[in-house]
Amino acid sequence: MQTELLQEARRQAEICNACRYCEGYCSVFPALHAERAFADGDLTQLANLCHNCRGCYYACQYTAPHEFDLNLPAALAEVRRDSWESFAWPQPLARRFHSHGGAIALALVIGFAALFMAIRAIGSEGGEGFYAVLSHNAMVAIFAPTFLLPLVSVAVSLKRFWQEVGGQAMALADIKTAFKRAGKMQDLAAGHGEGCNFEDEDRFSQGRRHVHQAVMYGFLLCFASTSVATVMHYGLGLHAPYGFWSLPKLFGVSGGILLTIGCVGMVMLKLKSDRSLGDSAAWGGDIGFILLLGFVGFSGLVLYVLGGSVFMPALLAIHLGAVLTLFVLTPFTKMAHGFYRLAALIRDAQRKRLS
């Protein structure tokens, strides 16, 4: 990892540790105040616990123009991205997407092209519905590896992260605590539960927490839709297309709507926020990623609505191309943050239990 980013985070953490005024905001400060000196792994853990709510920045008596020049949300955001890039596997792809929205767009175009080519080359093999465009077997052949291989990559990265932060064997209780915190996004609520300071300086607002949850639950619903459909296909012999009142459709449509709205909301909030309080170098990559994620949701909805029209084959290629790109880039884009956050929350629950 980059020593100058760690050194700056360490300098700031030492000042925070002598102050402690922000203790009630989030998980970062109790964890920070439990240390006396900050090893690289400690800072990596703090960075991945930080949700960039910015409450501490606006409450800080030492922000610029003060000579101490504290900006902890930015310092931790930079260490955080650096940690993701350093732990990513394989390394040649690690630093190409977090800070390059253009690279994400290019990958998306390649994703579209791949699907169009697959449709042209493989075709339907006599299926119906979407399978009339691309056969079920072909879809599985494309998406099983592009879904599973990135997960293997993420697992390698998380193992590296866990070693770096000194994680111990996990207890079920730690995992439960972490899922509960993430499920409610408590670290974006501040200790008083009134939200974070994101889009309007020091005003507390639930805006970012709500749009984040729309994105997260929207994505999970879409994922649930696909999972249920897989079970129905292989387990129950019920093949697509499914009607509206089926689980895959109910999950998929509601998830797609949440995902689309959430991503649009997130971009709007980001545009209003002060870029200097985050990892400003990752701005393009973050926006590119959110647009990609939102596009997956939106193209899925359009495909649902226009599934019976002549546009369907093209829309299917576009939607599946976007999904493909999202999956393949998971270890190398902001998508990875969910895994790291969860790991950091588990580690934090573990620290509290063991202390």
Binding site: Y21, Y25, H33, Q61, F68
Partner: protein, 460 residues
Amino acid sequence: MTQYDIAIIGGGNAALCAAMTAAEAGARVVILETAPKPYRGGNSRHTRNFRCMHSGPLGPLVDDYSEEEYLADLIKVTDGKTDEHLARLAIRTSQECLPWMEERGVRFQPSLSGTLSLARTNAFFMGGGKGLVNAYYRTVEKLGVDVLYEAAVIHLELDGDKIARVDYTHQGATHRIEPRAVIVASGGFQADTEWLTRAWGDPAKNFLIRGTPYNRGVVLADLLDQDVSSVGDPTQCHAVAIDGRAPKFDGGIVTRLDCVPFSIVVNKDAERFYDEGEDVWPKRYAIWGRLVAAQPDQVGFVIIDAKSLNLFMPSVFPPLKADTLEELAGMMDLPADKLRQTVETFNAACGDATGFHPTELDGVATSGITPPKTNWARPIVEPPFYGYSLRTGVTFTYLGLKVDDTAQCSTADGPIQNLWAAGETMAGSILGQGYLAGFGMTIGTVFGRIAGREAAAYAN
């Protein structure tokens, strides 16, 4: 130009409490804050809690804290030099202030790690004083109060028993307004080193100012020149011993050093000068500023050894570290032989240290040396040795405007009809000397509200 009912001079806690109260009573209010926006809020930016009387749990506060106990705590630290009538008014009103603060956006948090001793008496602001200041600015803006930053008041014209006008500079021009009433809440004069030097003599040049560089006492001096009644001794202030490497201004909380009880403290001649173990640190924190101020060059040096390093809260600057006392003396520019002799004399005077307990008065004391160390006296023998320099850090001065229990200012001829004061600028009316943690915010909140109420009633 808007005709204001009330001009409030200053932009910290007291000013904001006055502004909210007056605006809620229907007054048209302007706040003239001399600092730029990032530094708004005066010393309130650096505060962290509010000392509050309560019967039964209240907000983040546990158990009870009665008026009598609160007053007794105050009398202890001020050595009786306190105005009991005004002190009781502040204490009694503090209880109703806490929910009032919450209604206006202040959020509290549990007592911070390392400050559990205050969980019953002091309500901590979530995020500290700047969080409180931010919430109050949001509230005053909603109430339609105009806030001018970098608006430096240079003169209040006292005409008979009224303030006739307020002169201030803003955006490169001088302005003159004639509000019906004026509230002064612009703090002490500690950031004006020349004034501090007139009061203290040359030693004051070596003092550090823990808070805002904008409290230069301009309005206070202007009113004193016009014979507005004052109170307090110009040498009295809230002063603590802080890390000698702290910045001249605005170092705030992170520059404090909590290691004195586990140390010996010497002056530049490597001689001890006071009982480092007299009491638990929170109770002695505020006397060491004056103790260091009385030493040559107004500097002290804390020496601890390896076994004490983790017994106190970390401070922002790492300690000097050396394997021998001579090496440490060299780093601190102390006479090495003398330091060794002082440490050896101290070590020889230490007795049985098996009863050592870092958080209680353990009675582990020296015998046969002057000054003694009456608690936590353990020989300084285990390398590496660590050192910090100490300097006097002034929080705020006590010479201020004398007010009555309606926060109203006066001259020898009687009350000034339309002038009130709140916060540090009148805290000397209550605090003769010494300081009680969190009481400054209590005075500011209670008297800010009173001043706002009285000024609004007058203006209406």
